[in-house]
């Protein structure tokens, strides 16, 4: 190298004066830039993680670029309103807030009935930015909280993958989870909901716990307790953690993997996590009172029994004595635990499993008993196409990853297998829970990808090793022939490995294309602003919801009370700033049933109910003009079912004809004269909606309506939006008695 340098120096000196200086400096800088392998590897890893971080953020920005930076859907509007309150009034006012603007006349104790993690997180980010003199509006922070935490989740997924398998699996897991549609669906920019932060907290808690079990360190266990606290503050789905971790500990005990590390990790996490979780008012004392949390307590006591038996075994030298002692202790421990559980449940101190979580274990329960839970579209069981839509090739890689985990069973792989299987089962029961299964599926698929790629690249690399070993081992005739056959198969194997690697690359690129397409088409719609393709392919935006809410805000008295179906409650309070009767919290079934009864009764009976509730305005959503199919007429049967569940005077068969729900001439008379029908189709009979069809043609149902001549006695029309999507009616005061 030195000789070469001298010759180039002399050549360049012969040409120009300044060139050799440049050449020298560049040669030296190139030499000093040549890194060692370890440093190269670190650089590759850090750059991959940096790119993945940015990718996870920008993949979620479709709706911000297409529409504007606004909050999507229904629930996020409540979260936005509470965050606004928190930043304006401070934490103590927020914690003690009683809201009289929703659930009129009952009101709602907001401070005690929400999970504050999301709001506090957004407020902290907002205050930090303001401290750094970036004066952003709180709405921007709320819109971009979810993508920010999705990026953080990819980092946690990398460390988790590293813990379970190796760094390669960690990197693949980070990439897969950055663009997986199952996660994007609930963490897109504008989806300011609890899950945005909760999935980050879930994965963080699991990672810290597995790290604690692997190392036995008290510090990591403490970290996992705080991660659990963050999860409890963020989402009601923390019940999954408090049941999965004890189940995992139980499986480890059964498979004979009890160790001091497990003991330290679980005890620290359970006790500290439980004490921290009791700081959230909404959770309260549920960790000692609710049936859903008893599994964790039972496993905690079992761990103490195991430790005690271990200690006794260490003290005693006699095996037989110990066997006796073992039998007595285990029997009596199980008996005492069973008796305590029985006494607790019978006396009512331990409450049974709530309907929401019980319907996960027995999926048929909600359909028969609790229509409100069954009516939410997110709670329907999952069909294969939803799985395919949200996971694509991860569905192939998941069983392969399980196989690799079973081949190399450690404490960590047992955990990820259990997490994957339980969460996948629950995802099969309820579509919404595909989100919870996504990190596990991505991690296990990453293990499959990493192990397969490692196998294939090791095939590519064996070429160098075999000739050396052949030469050092000396020449026997069999050895020579085997070497010859190996040499003959070498190029074939190498070509095959390269072809398979290209195949893996092709599959992963198809996954990326699929994820981008799904994100762009299916999961980036704000739901409050609708878009459709016009006749010439141009895009038409329907902004009717916000138009109606702002009309309410500006044209009604400030103490007006609005009655609508519970879907729109949060949006009305957040954007319209008016009191509502029922909203999305759905905590009071009877109140919702009262509204449902009012919507499905004749106008006179409905007027009595509305007067008793002090209603001033009624809001309905109607999709007959635009063909919008999620309107109140399509939701009407749920109003009837929920109302009929509490008031038997409302009977579902009254509204059906031969079991079929119709709105045209053949519909039942009760349907043609109920309040919802009248309010939706008032003056609709005069409208021509489609060329070539008669007037009053409902484009969402595809039929001509039955009752075109509607007269309203106790209500009058206040406002109809430009595309007839939202219609607002004023309730007239009672006529003076003569």
């Amino acid at each position: 190298m030195g000789g070469k340098q001298d010759s180039t120096k002399s050549e360049s000196m012969a040409t120009t004066k300044t060139a050799p200086d440049l050449l020298n400096s560049s040669i030296f800088s190139f030499k000093s830039l040549k890194l060692k392998t370890k440093q190269q590897e670190l650089l590759i890893r850090v750059s991959i993680l940096g790119l993945v971080y940015v990718l996870a953020f920008i993949a979620r920005l479709f709706s911000v670029l297409r529409y504007e930076s606004m909050i999507h859907e229904f629930d996020p509007y409540f979260n936005y309103r509470t965050t606004l309150f928190l930043t304006e009034k401070g934490f103590y006012e927020f914690w003690n807030w009683f809201d009289s603007e929703s659930w009129y006349p009952l009101g709602r104790i907001i401070g005690g009935t929400l999970y504050p993690g999301l709001m506090v997180t957004a407020a902290l980010i907002y205050w930090t930015l303001r401290f750094l003199r970036f004066f952003v509006h709180i709405r921007e922070v709320c819109v971009l909280t979810a993508p920010f935490f999705a990026s953080n989740t990819t980092l946690v997924a990398y460390f988790f993958g590293k813990e379970i398998w190796d760094t390669g699996a960690g990197l693949v897991a980070a990439v897969l989870i950055a663009i997986c549609p199952g996660y994007i669906s609930r963490s897109v920019a504008g989806s300011y909901d609890n899950e945005a932060v909760a999935i980050f907290a879930l994965l963080l808690t699991f990672y810290l716990f597995v790290k604690a079990v692997n190392t036995g360190s008290l510090a990591w266990a403490l970290g996992s307790a705080f991660g659990y606290f963050y999860m409890v503050s963020a989402w009601g789905g923390y019940v999954f953690i408090i049941n999965l971790v004890p189940l995992y500990v139980l499986v480890l005990l059964i498979t004979g993997r009890y160790s001091m590390r497990l003991y330290i990790a679980y005890n620290c996490m359970y006790i500290l996590g439980m004490l921290l979780a009791m700081q959230i008012r909404f959770v309260g004392f549920q960790h000692v009172q609710s049936g859903e949390h008893m599994g964790a307590m039972g496993v905690f006591l079992l761990m103490q029994v195991f430790y005690f038996l271990d200690w006794v075994k260490y003290q005693l030298n006699d095996i037989k004595l110990f066997q006796t002692f073992l039998r007595i202790t285990v029997t009596s421990a199980i008996l005492v635990g069973g008796v305590a559980l029985g006494v607790g449940t019978a006396s009512g101190y331990i409450s049974p499993w709530t309907g929401r979580f019980y319907s996960l274990l027995d999926p048929t329960y909600a359909k028969d008993h609790i229509p409100i839970i069954a009516s939410v579209s997110e709670h329907q069981p999952t069909a294969w196409s939803s799985f395919m839509f949200d996971y694509h090739i991860l569905l192939f890689l998941f069983p392969a990853g399980l196989y690799f985990c079973f081949k190399r069973l450690t404490d960590a792989t047992i955990f990820i297998v259990m997490y994957g299987l339980t969460s996948l089962y629950f995802a099969g029961v309820m579509v919404r829970l595909i989100l919870v299964a996504t990190p596990a599926v991505c991690l296990i698929s990453a293990i499959a990808v990493s192990a397969t790629v490692k196998n294939l690249t090791s095939l590519l690399r064996t070429k160098q090793k075999v000739p050396q070993s052949g030469s050092t081992k000396g020449a026997g005739s069999s050895k020579a022939s085997s070497k010859v056959t190996l040499d003959q198969s070498q190029p074939f194997q190498k070509n095959g490995a390269i072809a398979l690697l290209l195949g893996v690359f092709y599959l992963l690129s198809r996954y990326a294309i699929h994820c981008t397409w799904v994100t762009s088409e299916a999961y980036s719609s704000p739901s409050i602003v609708l878009a459709a393709r016009g006749a010439h392919g141009n895009r038409i935006i329907f902004d009717d919801y916000r138009e109606a809410y702002y009309w309410l805000r500006q044209n009604t008295p400030t103490d007006a009370k609005i009655m609508s179906w519970w879907d729109y409650g949060y949006q009305i309070t957040a954007m319209g700033n008016r009191t509502v009767i029922v909203d999305n919290n759905t905590w009071n079934n009877t109140h919702i049933a009262t509204v449902g009864r009012a919507m499905s009764s004749y106008e006179d009976e409905a007027y009595d109910i509305m007067r008793s509730l002090d209603v001033n305005y009624v809001l309905v959503v109607f999709g007959g003009v635009t063909g919008y199919s999620s309107d109140d007429i399509n939701k009407f049967l749920w109003m009837v079912r929920i109302g009929g569940g509490v008031f038997p005077v409302i009977k579902e068969p009254d509204y059906l004809v031969n079991g079929e729900f119709r709105v045209d001439k053949g519909a039942s008379p009760k349907m043609l004269n109920c309040l919802m029908y009248k309010l939706c189709y008032y003056r609709f009979g005069e409208l021509t909606t489609e060329y070539g069809k008669p007037t009053g043609y409902d484009r969402a149902r595809g039929v001509e309506i039955g009752n075109k001549d509607i007269k309203l006695e106790h209500l009058e029309e206040a406002y109809t939006t430009s595309n007839w999507i939202v219609r607002i009616y004023r309730v007239k005061p009672p006529t003076n008695r003569l």
Binding site: T324, T382, A383, Y403, S489
Partner: protein, 192 residues
Amino acid sequence: MIERKANLSLRIRSEKMAPRSDSQTLATGSAMSDTSGESSIDPIFHILRIIPFSFLRPPRLRLKLPSFTLPSPMTVFALILLTYFLVVSGFVYDVIVEPPGIGSTQDPITGSVRPVVFMSGRVNGQYIIEGLSSGFMFVLGGIGIIMLDLALDKNRAKSVKASYATAGITSIVIAYVMSMLFIRIKIPGYLH
């Protein structure tokens, strides 16, 4: 075993002649669960020794408590694969919503009833047969990758490795192509 024989001999020596009764099988069951060695730290054993067994003679039975052995990891994995197949085929959806096995439409002109395999119109809806066939494709793809890994295992004959490799690659290709075909039929605007 030694303990139990010792107990029985103890009882035979100290017994009084008594007719066998039906409670004896029950007694042997409870005796076996509470037996210990000759060392007597078990209080229940002492009570039982006095109350029924001072005058009852347990028969000599060759019964063994069923021993609980953990199944091998690969057995568990096979069961898990079966469960995965059921879940991913939308089994819970089939049980709750009870869709028909296969849908049908009526040809408007001829009036004949034609079967429809894929429920169109929604992403989250299926008929039973389409769910099961898609689930089978996913499991086939997974098994293909597993077979590829088995093919790269060093301790087998070359021909076995080659056949595993071809079977694995064919499975993956078939599974991927069929899954893409299914999703394209089901969702008409896929990737457009």
